[in-house]
Symmetry: C2
Amino acid sequence: MSLSHVLLGMLNKPASGYELKQYFEQSVRHFWYAELSQIYPALAKLEKEGMLSSKKTASDKGPSKKVYTRTSSGKKELQEWLAAGPVLRTERIAYLTQLFFLDEISNAKRISFMEELRDDFAARHKELKSAETNWAAQDPGFPDQLPDTGLVKHMTLRSGLLKYAVMVEWCQECIAF
Amino acid sequence: MSLSHVLLGMLNKPASGYELKQYFEQSVRHFWYAELSQIYPALAKLEKEGMLSSKKTASDKGPSKKVYTRTSSGKKELQEWLAAGPVLRTERIAYLTQLFFLDEISNAKRISFMEELRDDFAARHKELKSAETNWAAQDPGFPDQLPDTGLVKHMTLRSGLLKYAVMVEWCQECIAF
DNA sequence: TTGGACATGTAATGAGTTACATGATTCT
DNA sequence: AGAATCATGTAACTCATTACATGTCCAA
């Protein structure tokens, strides 16, 4: 239901598959993941469906690339997806599932599991914090004078900061217990 | 990588596919989802691999059912999965992805999107809260005298309560802005 | 007797992962 | 010359969703 929509969202500006993968890693990566081997066929399919158009373009570094542009039909599809409201309760959170069954392993292993989890949440929090710092340094309008585009990015960023902060505390509480 | 492990975890006590689906809806549903049409073949595969054994058993209500039991090999597989540490950064959270691109729709639509999101978080919080209340009513040992099994369930429940509470507040903040 | 919960599956399709394959360009 | 990065893909496989198909047992 979804990589296509993510790509349509990212193709706000024309880009090649390789570039899209890089943007992925810097932003959407925190809540969506895709391999290049999934991205290329997805782009081809979107083009076949008329949501994107492409043209070969010389690259500044490396071989020539296939740059995709979102068509009006692609934009419409994206807007319909968004206007239909949030896609809810489809998340699959492996670590919570594991935690739910964690009584199947020893107490020592449970603790190191929770420590690893805490460390990862802390790392994610730190990543977001530094993204925020960089943004603030580069953009004088941050965080109060943002355009719509920046506003929703900021909201997304903030949800991560709040969530990971709570989750780190929660892990500490679990470990302490 | 995973429905199999979830099933192995739930087969702590023998159960049929139909029963497992019901347990799913009551517990794991908050962080994992599976259709019956996915569960049945997964159980069959686990049996073929020697992780489960099954036998046909009469039901109190309805036709006879196929009750699966976890074998020692199945238990070992589960423990290895858990001992390998948390499966991290594989979550795909559709609503955050949508939010990230939400500047593509009108302000009015953005607000109703956030309201719907907030209402769902609030509903999830309420579901967990009532699960906690029921548990407390039925179990005199709740929450301080829990066995390992109950302890990890409580930890999981608590993570959801904390997370959804923060997310509701965050939505409010977004809407107010 | 009919509707609902109980019970188990298959088939077709779509989405995602892992492994493989190829080649251009740039930097050292 | 060799390594790193840039660039695009295919193939085989696994996992997940949607639609279909079938049938039992019980209560109203």
